[in-house]
Point group: C2
Chain length 323, copies 2
């Protein structure tokens, strides 16, 4: 079973989320259950449940079951989008495991994603309009982010602005929704709900930036991904964009690689080394730090307690992580 790599006094709640996830994906159809658990048990960081539970508890929410329920809902949506995303990327591994797409085939991957959406939708029914609409809007934004990202795949004209927009839509908006819903359910004021939403948004962008940095620098054994995987799949991300900005040579080399459907392993490695040597990794980390500081800046509305300290500490962990 997955364990979050951090402990902010919510281990009990996170364990309840795990149990709830396992319960929700039961099905008489074995493949639905297995393919769901293949993703759920693959060692995710449980960032989304962590954010939702911490915001809920930081604002004094006391109905643990409620927080667990909605946190499980966000993780189900996340799992569904991972499965569908891997179809789109043609990715063969995720978190060091075969993707559902590779292991169970296209049909099962499409249907298992839909099954997980339905299960998340079911959880949403217990909550009111604000919760459901906030979550649904984040899901629609996620789809829009996917479309934008795909439009620029294998193409030379992605800007840093558009990169940040994709990070916002695909990663940060769902985390924002989770933070807002946690704050709302705890009875936070509308200012607090907004502030925690902004926290989630900035934290989510920082998280995505570090993810894209680790794609270049991460230990393959820890990240479960081959270095330079984004380039291999035809996607420019922040480190590449920063490296290209200052060097026409790097720009030419990177564009040559991402324009190919299947670039050679050697070309990908060469480009990854160019990006690393350019100093762009530190610049990208610097931008991650910036979003992390912005995230912290939104927490002034919270009382100082174990959970608000957890939200602060979470920013640090997201920035310092090595997998």
């Amino acid at each position: 079973m997955t364990t979050a790599p951090w402990d902010f006094g919510i281990q009990k709640e996170l364990k309840m989320v795990e149990a709830r996830l396992h319960e929700m994906v039961r099905s008489p159809e074995k493949v639905l259950n297995e393919a769901s658990l293949h993703v759920i048990d693959a060692g995710g960081k449980r960032l989304r449940p962590t954010v939702t539970i911490l915001t809920y508890k930081a604002l004094g929410g006391s109905d643990v079951k409620k927080a667990v329920e909605i946190a499980a809902g966000f993780e189900l949506i996340h799992s569904a989008t991972l499965i569908h995303d891997d179809i789109n990327d043609g990715g063969s591994t995720r978190r060091g495991r075969e993707t559902v797409y590779k292991k169970y085939g296209l049909h099962n991957a499409v249907v298992t994603g839909d099954f997980l959406f339905a299960k998340a939708f079911r959880i949403g029914g217990v909550f009111d309009e604000v919760v459901v609409q906030t979550t649904a809007d984040a899901c629609a934004a996620l789809a829009e982010g996917e479309i934008i990202q795909n439009r620029y795949r294998h193409k030379p004209d992605l800007t840093i602005d558009t990169y940040l927009k994709v990070a916002e839509y695909k990663t940060a908006q769902p985390i924002r929704a989770g933070a807002m819903v946690g704050a709302y359910l705890a009875g936070g004021s509308s200012e607090q709900v907004q502030a925690l939403g902004n926290y989630g948004l900035d934290l989510g962008i920082a998280f995505q930036i570090i993810d894209d940095v680790l794609d270049f620098t991460g230990d393959e054994k820890k990240t479960g991904k081959v270095a330079g995987n984004d380039l291999k799949e035809g996607n420019l991300t922040l480190p590449s964009l920063l490296a290209m900005k200052d060097s026409p040579e790097i720009r030419n080399a990177l564009l040559a690689v991402i324009s190919k459907a299947t670039p050679s392993h050697e070309d990908v490695r060469k480009c990854a080394r160019l990006v690393i040597k350019s100093g762009a990794i530190d610049k990208a980390k610097g931008m991650g730090e910036y979003y992390g500081m912005e995230a912290l800046g939104h927490l002034g509305c919270l009382a100082n307690n174990e959970y608000s300290r957890g939200l602060r500490e979470l920013v640090k962990r997201v920035l310092d992580r090595d997998s």
Copy 2:
């Protein structure tokens, strides 16, 4: 714009559903909007909105907007599953048009389906737990039906019982949910909600049986499908199963065709003719009539009004349709 092929005094509501569907699928991402409308405007029969609105009005529901809203939600779910289903079937046409999968590609088809689910989910937020859970459970059943159907694709051992189970899960359960929700929102008693759910279930199975009959006998210009398409895709349906039951020769011929990934056009046509000549079409229609009668049998709990008459008439139209 699509027009339902029937008029039961709810043309105004169905027009409102169309407007709502168009509104819901707006997106700054053009492809999401276009791919959504490609399915929504493709000439569907609007069976699901018709059932929901008729049950609502038959039980005296008077808040038209409420019925329209939930009816649009069910049609969005249906559209999402059509798009994802076409990916799985590898189908290149639907309702005489290219599928979203063929026209916009795998990535856009997966994401547009998810986008439509998110939009349906958003509509659900306005309603209470009963509505959302009834709908979500139907979506999960739909996924299970897909899995079962796929398990038997290209395989010889599908039974009529399993065929009926797939028809129930894939087609009839969502229609059942729409009927139950319509009745529930109108303030029907729990007996009425159950009875109308059973109506929807039997109507849905009858609808699927006739769909499968039309796959053999339908005018290609009207159905937008090539005759024998199910066999071509490796799926046995009720007419084939009934024809095989009484004739080892037909059984051998059909199993030879469905076991192939891409059977020849001529072999498919030959098998379709064998099924038609065997008398299995009339038997399948007879089973459709049976489910139609069962559906009518559940309507005793309704007062006699324009809309309850509409629900009766709908059974007849579903059985008599030629496209």
